[in-house]
Symmetry: D2
Subunit: 136 residues, 4 copies
């Protein structure tokens, strides 16, 4: 397992008229979680795309909403890789508020595409090599 | 079953640097689908909230992304209720591009909350009465 | 002068916890206004970018907010070109609610960049030729 | 003068297919700038709204875009109050990239509304008292 944690502050524009974070905005939070996880491994998604020509489209998203998050809340995102990625990489995300209560939980599955050929590839070594030490 | 169809045009700000509609933006499209479905039944979500004091928070979201949608694409959203809603209402959504190819498919589950008491309620009659003729 | 009008429906995710359309979301409405104006001239921004290799970055934005717009409001966007574009193109936008009251007014200035060379160019003939009949 | 600085990381969903931060998303960055400025004064906008019943709608926005910002860029937002606020408060914002080059500059003007009465009020003492020491 590889676990990473990052904090995020809810912006005003991310709330809706119920006063809740709009349900679609969690997808962007999930993105922050996985990007910062990769960065903690010494890898930026930006480099992956620009230097190595690999893009990572999302192939599925699941979110279960447990309780609302509100404007200005500081949320904790726990992003977890439960298994070494192969053809896909699955990030599990749990979001907690300052009272350590769960806001939502979900997962995002992405694949890897070689930009030049447009074909799907396996997890590139830039990622898998850095993850191996955590999955033994 | 109750099926509703609506078209939506992809905005520039909804794409990302891959040139794809950003995966999180489909949640807003899904919202347009269910809101327009309710409107086709003679019911606005706005009235439900303002006149009847009922809010409908989303409790889960699932999306499977099949192929990208691009800027300026005109997308067709098919929103379906497969069963008469009870404690929850589940909207199934399929999105197709102009070539009738599937872009993504998913579902959103919402519950009903009475704003005054803050408690969960069953599908209000404003919705269920209008749906009954389609589920016999 | 060239004037174009289009309607837009406020989405739930575009409101904030004041119940107003979030001030930043009008930029996207303005985009819909100018894109649909171009389309009414037989020109898509998509083609401009893909077939003619021209991108149009925004160089300035001004908005004066007069009164709030609310969820589910149907807004009317009036987009106006007051002069034939040269090095820049300036779209003036006025947004009205269903009571014909002004919601906001503003302008967006964009320039033209040749994607290949990365240099600024004048208004391409694809646009100026179509506009000339309206400015004589 | 009162000057405040905060950093922000560009998210993937904030870019558009040009690869630039979408021009409308800067409004949300501006919001982060002024919210964090208020927080540095020991004041949260959340409290202002919830405890003191004051909302701050935006009345005008101006942005001049100098150069694009890109995905994953760490941007520095400099938010400045040039004068003690009266009926309005004007936040001037400058955004710089990691090379200290200006990305954009602009200003946002907001007013103060008493939620109960719905009328405009002057800058509440919660804000003006904290600012006075900086404007003498």
């Amino acid at each position: 397992m590889f676990i990473h944690s990052v904090k995020i502050r809810v912006r005003y524009g991310e709330t809706d008229q119920m006063g809740y974070v709009y349900y679609g905005n969690y997808a962007e939070y999930f993105e922050v979680g996985r990007v910062e996880m990769l960065r903690s491994l010494g890898l930026t998604y930006k480099d992956l795309e620009e230097e190595h020509g690999i893009i990572m489209p999302v192939t599925s998203l699941n979110i279960r909403y447990v309780r609302p998050a509100f404007y200005d809340n500081e949320l904790k995102l726990i992003t977890t890789l439960r298994e070494i990625p192969g053809k896909n990489i699955i990030f599990h995300v749990e979001i907690f508020n300052a009272e350590e209560k769960m806001v939502c939980a979900g997962s995002v599955r992405l694949c890897f595409i070689d930009k030049k050929s447009g074909t799907r590839i396996n997890t590139p070594p830039q990622i898998s090599d850095r993850l191996k030490p955590y999955f033994s």
